[in-house]
């Protein structure tokens, strides 16, 4: 069941297209992430769904109803604002009850629903506090409770964790997922944080310059990026630019300066001579001091960054290209600056990108 469908929506601010021919559908009950760098149009798209921006063309359909022409107050969606936008002149209970009062719900039912929401976001007992008396994390919970109180068909979350510090962000992320599962409401999260999108969402849409560039599950987005932009934006990546050529028994990528072309995964349907990039994630690199079987690149360690759970080894190839390898645990202690190594990977772990 599709709860949200966007068909060919566009919106310009001046000469720049904030949202450019975006079509998208979101399944009911999904936790859908719109991921992209700042200025990519993801917030404009979100505001379009909420009704704060009207598309120049295209349609927005929520639960089978075309809402394109409806004002924000008539749409069955609610939004959690990045700034939380809590009403400073009302207490927590008043904030949560605000939407319910607009519906003309009875007093006793409102009080019941407010208590329910306070319990859901673990703020029971805080009903009479004013927003300025709460911590950032508590405000975030109240904002979530307020946005969920009306049981919307779709909840829009604009950078829900951006205002929290790192430690709190990780906890709150888990809580958000838990709450989403419990209430069963479809969440559409806008974020610029790829880690957040990958870890929270069941589906991720990546945006760039107003356009959707890839939609898929988090692992599809990470393992099979469709373009250089996605590969580079989502996670760390080594990109080697070259030209498709014939290799030993398979298609390969001829990279300037490399004497041997780099073998590519089988099943590629591309013609020789096409410009392409090879993407390989740092954790797929295998480093060894002796020349391994198959393809390997000679490189020198330029630095090792210890991250706690693992290390990033920065390498420079003989051709002067930088490579990154992620080694889990303490595997990197064997290496120091200046070591001459071989960097290898299995060709199945690489992606060929022509866009």
């Amino acid at each position: 069941m599709v709860v949200l469908e966007i068909v060919g929506a566009s919106k310009h601010f001046g000469a720049t297209a904030a949202v450019d021919e975006v079509s998208l559908s979101v399944e009911r009950g999904a936790l859908f992430a719109l991921l992209g760098p700042s200025g990519c149009g993801k917030t404009t798209l979100l505001r379009m769904i909420a009704g704060f921006e009207s598309p120049e063309k295209g349609r927005i359909v929520i639960d089978g109803v075309d809402v394109t022409a409806l004002p924000p107050y008539a749409r069955p969606v609610n939004m959690m604002f990045q700034s939380y936008a809590l009403f400073p002149h009302m207490d927590v209970a008043g904030n949560i009850a605000f939407g319910l009062r607009q519906e003309g719900m009875g007093r006793r039912r409102i009080a019941g629903r407010v208590d329910e929401m306070l319990a859901l976001v673990q703020m029971t007992g805080y009903g009479h506090r004013r927003p300025h008396e709460l911590s950032g994390g508590q405000r975030q919970r109240v904002a979530l409770g307020r946005a969920l109180a009306k049981m919307p068909k779709l909840l829009l979350l604009d950078e829900p964790l951006a205002a929290l510090d790192r430690k709190l962000r990780a906890e709150t992320r888990l809580e958000l997922i838990g709450i989403q599962e419990r209430v069963g409401i479809t969440f559409l999260v806008v974020t610029h944080d790829q880690e957040e999108a990958l870890s929270m969402a069941s589906r991720v849409a990546v945006m760039k310059e107003g356009r959707l560039v890839q939609i898929g599950s988090p692992s599809e987005i990470y393992e099979r990026p469709s373009s250089r932009f996605v590969a580079d934006f989502v996670g760390e990546v080594n990109l080697l630019e070259g030209e498709l050529a014939a290799g030993f028994n398979c298609l390969a990528l001829a990279v300037a300066g490399f004497e041997k072309p780099i073998p590519l995964p089988p099943g590629m349907n591309l013609t020789h001579g096409t410009a392409a990039a090879l993407a390989v994630r740092p954790e797929k690199l295998v480093l060894s001091r002796v020349l391994p079987n198959g393809f390997a690149i000679a490189a020198t360690v330029s630095s090792v960054s210890y991250l706690g759970g693992g290390s990033i080894v920065h390498l420079v190839t003989r051709q002067g290209r930088a490579l990154k390898a992620y080694l889990p645990g303490t595997a990197a202690v064997r290496f120091t600056r200046g070591d001459a190594l071989w960097a290898a990977w299995s060709r199945e772990d690489t992606t060929v990108l022509t866009e």
């Binding site: 704060f52 004002p71 924000p72 107050y73 604002f81 002149h89 605000f98 607009q102």
Partner: protein
């Protein structure tokens, strides 16, 4: 604070304190002193508060002037008249000023400054001259009546001048900018996302206004109302120039006592009562504004 030190801090607070004491508190005390004296023919036209003779210092304080204020209902009616006129002017300024301030705050950045400039433009001309100008407009053969007769809407001039109407018009006209500016200040700092959040939660525009905009701009409403109400109560020029025989305002009574009757003690007593009566709403509003700011 860095590097100012105890002496510097004392100077910083002390200078404005001294200024207020010298030019505000001292004159007020002199007025209080005069209000306790008797009127005499002479220079100055009141009895001294303290005299010295062979038996020593003697205090001549009398509450007779205050008793007079209480016993003659002219003063009470003048106070109430001022109160009513000022209250009505405040309400009218609020009703007129709020939409104007709202429109200016909602205008695009480049249009805001010229609009604010227009609000302040009247201050470039003397207050007195602007009030006089209204006489030329409102007179029986003034601009407005001539115009209305000219287009055939009326055949005889409307009584627009020297009545309650012209006084109220003058008050609203003169004090409207003092309402608009604090309201604009309040409205322009209103967080746009709060209005969006209210709309998102299902509030129609009017409910957004009542439930969010109005309560959040209440400090501006309070400040603007004070800035209109307080000077309007003591207003003398407007009732004097635009008012008629039925206009009874305390500022005019005070003027008459002081200059026409040359009764400084009664005039001072009128002023003392006025200041005391105004101090209450000012302090109440101050308390309210402080609480709002703390929240």
């Amino acid at each position: 604070m860095i590097g100012i030190g105890r002496l510097g801090r004392l100077t910083l607070i002390g200078v404005p304190f001294l200024w207020l004491a010298l030019f505000f508190l001292l004159p007020l005390l002199i007025v209080v002193k005069i209000s306790l004296a008797d009127s005499v023919v002479g220079i100055p036209p009141y009895t001294p508060l303290v005299t010295r003779d062979v038996t020593g210092l003697k205090l001549h304080a009398t509450l007779a002037n205050f008793v007079l204020l209480a016993s003659d209902d002219l003063y009470l009616r003048a106070y109430l008249g001022s109160l009513a006129n000022a209250a009505l002017a405040t309400v009218l300024c609020l009703l007129l000023g709020y939409p104007i301030a709202y429109a200016i705050a909602g205008a695009r950045g480049a249009q805001r400054q010229p609009l604010l400039f227009l609000v302040m433009l009247p201050f470039w001309t003397s207050f007195l001259i602007r009030v006089y100008a209204w006489i030329a407009i409102l007179e029986p053969n003034g601009l407005l009546n001539e115009f209305l007769i000219g287009i055939g809407l009326i055949s005889t001039p409307l009584p627009l001048l020297n009545n309650q109407f012209s006084v109220e018009l003058g008050l609203v006209y003169s004090y409207l900018p003092f309402m608009i500016l604090p309201l604009y200040g309040s409205l322009s700092t209103l967080d746009e996302s709060l209005l969006e959040a209210a709309a998102d939660l299902g509030a129609r525009p009017f409910r957004v206004f009542l439930g969010v905009v109005l309560p959040l701009t209440s400090p501006g409403i309070a400040a603007g109302s004070l800035l209109v109400f307080i000077p309007a109560i003591g207003e003398f020029v407007i009732p004097d120039l635009l008012g008629g025989p039925d206009t009874l305002m305390i500022g005019k009574v005070l003027w008459d006592e002081f200059f026409n009757n040359r009764d400084w003690p009664v005039a001072s007593a009128v002023a003392v009562v006025l200041v005391a009566a105004l101090a209450i709403p000012i302090l109440a509003a101050q308390k309210y504004l402080e609480r709002e700011r703390a929240a």
